[in-house]
């Protein structure tokens, strides 16, 4: 199966990746051949089979709903990593602009 150009663009949008036209062609070919390979799972009968999410069967591991605050030191370290910050907050472009 070969992905269409539109499908590749749609995937790039979902993945939030800006691709050049050349990259779109290259990935179109590569993704298509990988998808061809994984198609072989269609051969397997899984009618009565439940999926596995956790390999050793753990479910619903809970903790107490308690809020603990990070130290100023920890907060400062996190802010240092942000490309732009202001007044102790991470700055971003407008969400609704």
């Amino acid at each position: 199966m070969k992905l269409t150009k539109e499908q590749v663009q749609h995937i790039a949008n979902l993945a939030r990746l800006e691709l050049t036209a050349k990259e779109k062609e290259k990935f179109r070919d590569q993704l298509s051949s990988i998808l061809d390979y994984v198609e072989k799972l269609k051969q397997v009968d899984t009618k009565e089979v439940a999926g596995t999410a956790h390999a050793t069967g753990l479910e619903n591991v809970m903790r107490e709903d308690k809020i603990t605050s990070a130290s100023k030191e920890a907060k400062d370290k996190l802010l240092e990593a942000a490309p732009i910050s202001e007044k102790g907050l991470v700055k971003t472009r407008g969400v609704f602009e």
Binding site: A15, V44, A55, T56
Partner: protein
């Protein structure tokens, strides 16, 4: 032990146990040990490129602390003062942790991973961070933003991946042991290609807190060491339930006791020995199985009927989880960003008719920060999880995953562990498989099913083909690291492969 011999042998060549004995008997100091490793790194790492970052000052400071403890006559633990290297996708506080990506080129970790915290408490001397395929995606350490690591056995060849830096560093005696991570074979395959021991634990055995997440239902951290008993020591230090990783399990040590080797039944899955496999590898592994039989184990052929689907299951589930885990790299909170560079974003209108808005911060930061393999897998995952395709791909893969897991469980009703080759080939040449993703993916054909099923497995050296190492993979039941370590140890004690060193 002959004291003269110990002092003459380069200290960086020692195993954990030998190094510990030497420290305990005051034959040399922790600083001596660290210096020996740092000297080796200075001598050969320009050729091998195992390290992304060497933390010399910090290492010597940590070593001095251990020496002071010894001077005061205090008892030291088995890992105390032992120089180690950590794969650069495991967070080390205050030290750059890059995931071998431009995306995190300058990122300084703000906390220690759980395993790092444990090893620091145990007195580890951290030599530095080792190279890997970018974001742990690859099978050869060639997708690293900082260039590939070379195999110490042949510098024109790959060390395997993605823990190629860690495997290479151990093989080249640049450290005494190292930590790696394994999602589809990333500890075992490079261990095999570099002739060292690599252990991937049962899923849930070791905390993933502080491991830069790749595929959360498959990732595990584990040791790369010069012998089996060293791997056991590191495992004991890093395993355990962690509050910060809800997927970890508390296991009582009494669950699994070592058995008399003569009672051990070893299964050989027939699907792993196919026509067309590398003859040299096949010969080495078959000889190793014969050796195990000579040592008293009972060998039995078994079948893992869904073995041929393991890779396909992996290449649907793993990219899906990757696409979710790497969504956090958005150019806003950390990592590479087009923001803050003083240049207004110049771009045509996007699908929403916006120019240079939030959406572009995402798409451009990610496009420039990530390499091709990372992009491929994010896109694969985005596709297989999207509306209209989720059932056919991801859900289907989850179901086949159950069947793959059940294959192992059924086999383990008859035998105690399985043996297979770790890798279908010995180390291939740099660039040989790089251009075709699918060819590269097939390098993992023997290792991925193990992650899919969540069982533990270890790779140990079992021979050479044209002076290139071959690895034997021993696979165990969930949480039965004990049996696979025991079998590995028995084989190692009867052979000399693990003592051989590359000439660099």
């Amino acid at each position: 032990m002959n004291k003269k011999f110990i002092i003459k042998m380069p200290l960086n060549n020692l195993t954990i146990k030998q190094a510990h004995e030497g420290l305990r008997k005051k034959e040399f100091s922790a600083v001596d040990l660290a210096m020996a490793c740092l000297e080796q790194i200075k001598k050969i790492d320009k050729k091998v490129n195992a390290f992304i970052n060497v933390t010399e000052e910090a290492a010597l400071t940590q070593a001095k602390k251990v020496d002071e403890k010894i001077r005061r006559g205090e008892k030291i633990g088995g890992l105390e003062g032992i120089p180690a290297a950590v794969k650069d996708n495991i967070l080390t506080e205050g030290v750059k942790t890059t995931a071998a990506s431009k995306m995190l080129e300058n990122y300084i970790a703000s906390y220690d991973a759980a395993v790092v915290k444990k090893l620091k408490t145990a007195g580890m001397v951290l030599l530095g961070k080792t190279n890997l395929d970018e974001f742990a995606m690859g099978s050869s350490t060639e997708t690293s933003y900082f260039g590939p690591t070379k195999n110490p056995w042949d510098l024109r060849r790959v060390p395997g991946g993605t823990s190629g830096g860690s495997a290479g560093a151990v093989a080249a005696d640049e450290c005494i042991y190292a930590l790696g991570s394994d999602t589809g074979g990333s500890i075992r395959q490079p261990a095999s290609l570099c002739g060292v021991v690599g252990l991937k634990t049962t899923y849930g055995r070791v905390s993933r807190y502080g491991l830069i997440a790749m595929a959360s239902s498959l990732d595990q951290i584990g040791p790369l060491t010069k012998n089996v008993e060293d791997a056991r020591m590191v495992l004991e230090a890093i395993a355990g339930r962690d509050e910060m990783d809800a997927t970890t399990i508390k296991i009582s040590k009494s669950n699994f006791k070592s058995q008399d080797f003569k009672n051990i039944k070893i299964g050989v899955p027939k699907e792993y020995f196919v026509s067309g496999m590398d003859r040299g590898v096949e010969e080495c592994v078959k000889k190793a199985i014969k050796k195990l039989e000579e040592l008293g184990a009972k060998i039995e052929e078994v079948s893992l009927p869904h073995a041929e689907y393991g890779l396909a299951v992996y290449y649907i589930i793993m990219p899906a989880e990757v696409s979710a885990n790497l969504a956090r790299f958005d150019g806003i909170r950390y990592g590479y960003s087009i923001l803050g560079k003083g240049n207004p974003l110049q771009s045509p209108l996007n699908i929403r008719g916006e120019k240079g808005g939030l959406y572009e911060v995402y798409t451009h930061s990610r496009a420039r920060g990530f390499g091709d393999e990372v992009k491929r897998r994010i896109m694969l995952g985005a596709y297989t999880l999207s509306t209209g395709y989720y059932d056919a791909y991801y859900l289907k893969a989850q179901k086949v995953r159950t069947l793959v897991k059940q294959d192992f469980e059924k086999a383990f009703q008859k035998v105690d562990c399985l043996v297979t080759p770790t890798s279908p080939t010995v180390a291939f040449k740099l660039g040989e498989k790089f251009d075709d993703p699918l060819t590269m993916y097939l390098s993992d054909i023997y290792t991925v099913s193990i992650n899919v099923a969540g069982v533990p497995a270890i790779s140990i050296p079992c021979g050479f083909v044209k002076n290139l190492p071959v690895g034997l993979q021993i696979i165990g039941k969930h949480f039965d690291e004990e049996t696979i370590l025991q079998v590995a140890q028995a084989y190692e004690e009867a052979t000399e492969w693990h003592k051989m060193k590359p000439k660099i």
